[in-house]
């Protein structure tokens, strides 16, 4: 019964083209199509989207995503909107209805040489140039955070250790509205760890402005105490030939809703978005990704893995990738795997791929939600390993596969220990029979 419960949707500019290119489900992958997309005029000498015959072209392009810095430009969410329909509104209203406040997270920072931590006022031009909020919560955060903390990594700096921002909730009932900007100078190489813990109601926005040729690894750990409600919009602007590796690890909190947006400022950008989440009973963990390929020769790779256990454990993964007409030579793939460890848990997984040019290297997605892979268990057991040890190995490996991308050994060890502890509290693990689909 593995790989069941697929929920896969797919949209492209021309349904007929897409229908031949991509089958929904596991392992869909395609090369460039051999026919031009509809509305692109004569094949060969007119670039997609350029119309030589005038008139409104029936491009069928999807609507632009609405963004604004003004909270009131967004309707107050009811839970019926596409971007809120998976979110438990009662819980997220603790943020949406929160008043402006001076509450803060406690900061414990470790700043290597070449890194500066400052702050800017709300009217600073830096903030005006940031990608805009995509929902009301992020817009409220922008408005109420009253400026931003700024981490600057000098041009060509190669840091000798990670920048660590320990951000802990102090248990305040007030919503913490926080804005952070991480500026990475051209050709710098850095790892930035945002380590969230404690009890908080926290609405944040975090922007990564990655200079040309820079290499940034960002790790965001949500190791919140029970009772925490956390919503953050991450934005990355990836410079020419720059690389971004983002690793999101969500373990704690009542509700965590993270929106990660990526845009490319020039060609040659390369992005890996890794995610790991582990929801226990009543936890809601939502990760919404949006990778906007609008420049040529960029790549993106998304791997999110989650496990769920216990009654009403709930996870949501939305993976939106858009390849615009100009983004020739794009190479993108996204994968979401959910391991449902017990009954009563629910994982939603919705990859969306919108392709507006055929001149790409590759585009695909895979999504699977199910119980253990029984062939993996059989393989391990056939080597003498008892069924329970085999299950623990598989789950541990399932997560280690993501954790090993962090590249900070002490943090990796801490996270794996935390995961082991969660698995230790898994009463049904040794009772599940080995079943084979």
């Amino acid at each position: 019964m593995s790989a069941s419960d697929d929920q896969t949707t797919l949209t492209t500019d021309t349904a007929a083209l897409a229908g031949e290119l991509f089958a929904p489900g596991v392992g869909a992958q395609a090369g460039p199509p051999t026919t031009p997309a509809a509305g692109t005029g004569t094949a060969g000498d007119v670039s997609p989207g350029a119309h030589s015959h005038g008139g409104p072209a029936p491009t069928g392009s999807p609507a632009e995503r609405f963004t604004s810095t003004d909270p009131d430009a967004f309707a107050v969410p009811t839970g019926r909107e596409e971007e809120w329909r998976f979110t438990p509104m009662r819980r997220v209203r603790q943020l949406l209805n929160g008043a402006p406040s001076d509450a803060h997270l406690r900061w414990d920072t470790d700043l290597p040489e070449g890194v500066e931590l400052t702050s800017v006022e709300a009217d600073d031009p830096l903030l005006k140039g940031l990608p805009e909020p995509v929902d009301r919560l992020a817009a409220l955060t922008r408005q109420r955070s009253n400026g931003a903390a700024v981490v600057r990594i000098a041009t060509e700096a190669v840091l000798d250790r990670p920048v660590t921002l320990g951000l802990s909730g102090t248990g305040s009932q007030d919503v913490v509205w926080g804005q952070l900007v991480v500026e990475v100078g051209a050709f710098a190489k850095a790892t930035v760890v945002l380590d969230h813990s404690g009890l908080a109601k926290y609405a944040g926005t975090v922007s990564f402005l990655i200079g040309d040729g820079a290499q940034l690894t960002v790790v965001s750990v949500q190791d919140w105490a029970a009772g925490t409600v956390h919503g953050t919009q991450f934005d990355a602007v990836v410079g020419r030939d720059a690389t971004l590796k983002q690793v999101v690890v969500t373990l704690g909190g009542d509700l965590v809703r993270l929106v990660s947006n990526v845009q490319y400022a020039g060609p040659g950008g390369s992005v890996d978005l890794f995610g790991l989440y582990f929801a226990d009973e009543t936890q809601h963990q939502e990760h919404r990704l949006w990778v906007d390929h609008a420049t040529p020769h960029c790549r993106s790779n998304v791997v999110y893995k989650g496990a769920l256990q216990g009654e009403n454990a709930r996870t949501v993964w939305i993976g939106d990738v858009r390849i615009r007409p100009a983004a020739i030579g794009t190479d993108t793939y996204e994968l979401n795997r959910n391991l449902v460890l017990t009954d009563g848990a629910r994982a939603d997984s919705v990859p969306n791929l919108e392709i507006e040019t055929g001149e790409i290297i590759g585009a695909g997605h895979a999504s699977a939600t199910g119980r253990f892979d029984d062939e993996q268990l059989f393989y391990l057991c056939s080597r003498g390993i008892d069924a329970e040890t085999a299950r623990r190995l598989v789950v541990r490996g399932f997560f280690a596969d993501v954790v090993q991308h962090i590249g900070v050994p002490a943090l990796q060890e801490r996270l794996m220990t935390a995961i082991e502890r969660r698995l230790g509290a898994l009463p049904e693990l040794d009772e599940q029979p080995v079943e084979v689909a």
Binding site: D373, S382, I385, A387
Partner: protein, 272 residues
């Protein structure tokens, strides 16, 4: 039907193992969908012997291998399998392995996030009941990996993840060498291997045979691997049962004539 192993040519000294399969019937699927794949298999494999099971695609060779190993996809509907008199069919998959059975799989499974070294050590600990002594273990693994012409970085890779076909098969034989089974079933270990990889893998099996009285059940479609691993017995497997048995000369006959005659015979037998 008399088993050719009733008069074993190898020295059947006390202490060598014996796997006995008697009138084994196996189905796959459930209820009305159930389909009988094995239709009365009789076979005895003793320690030190090498048996080749040869047959056309779809004859049930792999089903035999997986049924012995305990894959839950298959339902035993009749017959017995014993290892040194112990009932294998009532054992769990891991108990069978600890009893001394090993299956080298045709399509080894990827286990993301679990390193080869961790996997091998966990398996060896399970089989022997105690963690192997670190120093000798590392040396054993390294020695055998070198013999199988596997790069040392292999140990840090995830189990079977991104392995080529040849690498997967070397990894299977590496496990056989380290876990030291009493009876090893090799399910189409030769499939998809180039000549070099076939030689390396075969030499690994021959080393295992030289080191211990392991009984080998070699399942193959082709005679190619039998030039490297000499079988004591060859069994022709058609339509869910053994239809002919002989020595290694039978493999030569199959090489020249193929399975056509047996497939035809088997249909006539089925009618009769």
């Amino acid at each position: 039907m008399t088993s050719p192993t009733a008069t074993p040519t190898s020295t059947g000294t006390a202490g060598t193992s014996v796997l006995e399969i008697r009138d084994l019937h196996v189905t796959v699927g459930e209820g009305d969908e159930a389909k009988e794949i094995l239709r009365g298999v009789d076979l005895t494999v003793r320690g030190g012997e090498t048996h080749a099971i040869m047959g056309p695609n779809g004859s049930g060779k792999s089903t035999l291998a997986y049924s012995i190993a305990g894959h839950p996809k298959y339902t035993i509907t009749g017959g017995t399998v014993t290892l040194d008199g112990e009932d294998v069919l009532t054992m769990t998959v891991d108990e069978r392995a600890r009893a001394g059975l090993f299956l080298a799989m045709q399509y080894p499974v990827e286990v993301p996030g679990v390193s080869v070294s961790n996997f091998l050590r966990t398996a060896a600990t399970a089989i022997t009941g105690e963690a192997p002594k670190l120093r000798t273990w590392v040396k054993d693994v390294r020695t055998e990996m070198e013999a199988l012409e596997m790069d040392s970085v292999f140990a840090e890779r995830n189990v079977n993840e991104g392995f080529s076909g040849g690498e997967k098969k070397r990894h299977e034989i590496l496990q056989m060498r380290l876990l030291k089974p009493r009876i090893a079933i090799l399910d189409e270990t030769d499939s998809g291997l180039d000549v070099d990889a076939l030689r390396v893998v075969s030499e690994g099996v021959n080393r295992a045979k030289a080191d211990s009285p392991v009984g080998v059940l070699l399942i193959t479609h082709y005679t190619r691997i039998l030039r490297y691993i000499k079988p004591d017995y060859v069994h022709v497997f058609v339509n869910g049962r053994i239809v002919e048995e002989g020595g290694s000369e039978l493999a030569d006959k199959l090489e020249n004539e193929g399975y056509a005659a047996y497939v035809k015979d088997s249909k006539e037998t089925a009618k009769a």
